[in-house]
Subunit: 149 residues, 2 copies
Amino acid sequence: MKMMTIGKAAGKAGVGVETVRFYERQGLIEQPPKPINGGYRDYPEETVLRIRFIRQAQELGFSLREIAELLSLNADPSTDCADVRERAQGKLMEVERKIAQLDRMRLALERLIAACPGQGALKACSIIEALKGGEGVAAKPTQDKETTP
Amino acid sequence: MKMMTIGKAAGKAGVGVETVRFYERQGLIEQPPKPINGGYRDYPEETVLRIRFIRQAQELGFSLREIAELLSLNADPSTDCADVRERAQGKLMEVERKIAQLDRMRLALERLIAACPGQGALKACSIIEALKGGEGVAAKPTQDKETTP
DNA sequence: CTTGACACCGTACTATTATACGGAGTGTAG
DNA sequence: CTACACTCCGTATAATAGTACGGTGTCAAG
C-alpha cells in the first residue's frame, strides 16, 4: 500500500515540510503516530485537505488561532451541539462581514476601472471610501465630539 | 482652528499612537510636516480615513505591502492611467476570488448550523470541504500522479 | 552493501506587524 | 508659572507565522 510521507503530504498541499511540522506543533493538524518499529510516519489524505484549508483561510484574513476555532467546529460531532452551533454562528457573522467589506472594495475597484480610460475625472472614486461602513469588531474609534453646540 | 495631534488621529482611527508612527515609517501614510517653529504635527482627517482603510483591508487578508498597492491606485490621478487600470484589475480579481471563497465558507457554516440541532447527523458537513475549489494564486500543489497505469 | 534522498527532531534564525521604553521638548489648565 | 499630559524620536522587545540548519536515522535503487 502506498505510504504518504511528510514530504509527499507537504508537496500535495503546496507547502514546505517545515510548515507541516509547524502546524503540528500548533495543534492545527494531528501528527500521525510513529510506526512501532520506528521508521517514517504515514500521513492520511485528510492532513493534506486540512493544510489546504488552513492556507485558504489565511488568505481570507483568519489567523491560525481563528482557523483552529474553525477547524474545531468540524472536528467534534460528539461534543455539545449547542456550543458548536453558537461558535459557528459567530464565525458566520464574521464571514458575512468580510463578504460585505470585500463587496464594497469590489465596487470601488470596478468604479475605478470604469472611470479610468473614459475621462481624466479619476479623482471621483476613492478606494479609501470603499470600506467606510462596517466597523471592525474590536477597537472602536474614539468619538469625534462634533463642534456643534 | 482645531489641531489634530497624533494621539487624536490615532484615537479616531482606533489604533495606538505607535501604530500610526509605524505606518508612517512604512510609507503607508504621510507624516505631516513639523511646524516651522517646532511643536506638534497637525494630522489631516484623511490620515484617519487611511488608517481605518488599512485596518479593514488587513481583516480581509491583505498584507501591508498589498495595502500599499491598493492605496497607490487611489493616490495618483496624474500617473499613467493604463497602469493604474491594470493594477486595479489584478486587485479586482483577487477580491473576487476572496469573495467566492468566503461564500463557500458561509455556505458550509450555514449547513453546519442547520444540521446541528435537528439530528445527530452532524458528520455530513465538513468545513474543510468548503474551500476546495479556487486555488490560491501561488504555490500549486504537486501533482498527485494517479496509480492508474 | 553502499549511496543518496529523504525523515526525524531540536534549536536557531527571519520577516512581518506591531508595542514598549526612555529622555527631552511642548502645550495647556489651574 | 508650574504640573501633567502629551509629542517626538530612537531604539528595544514581542507575537505571529514561518524557514533554515545540523546531526542522526531510514529506505530503496543500483
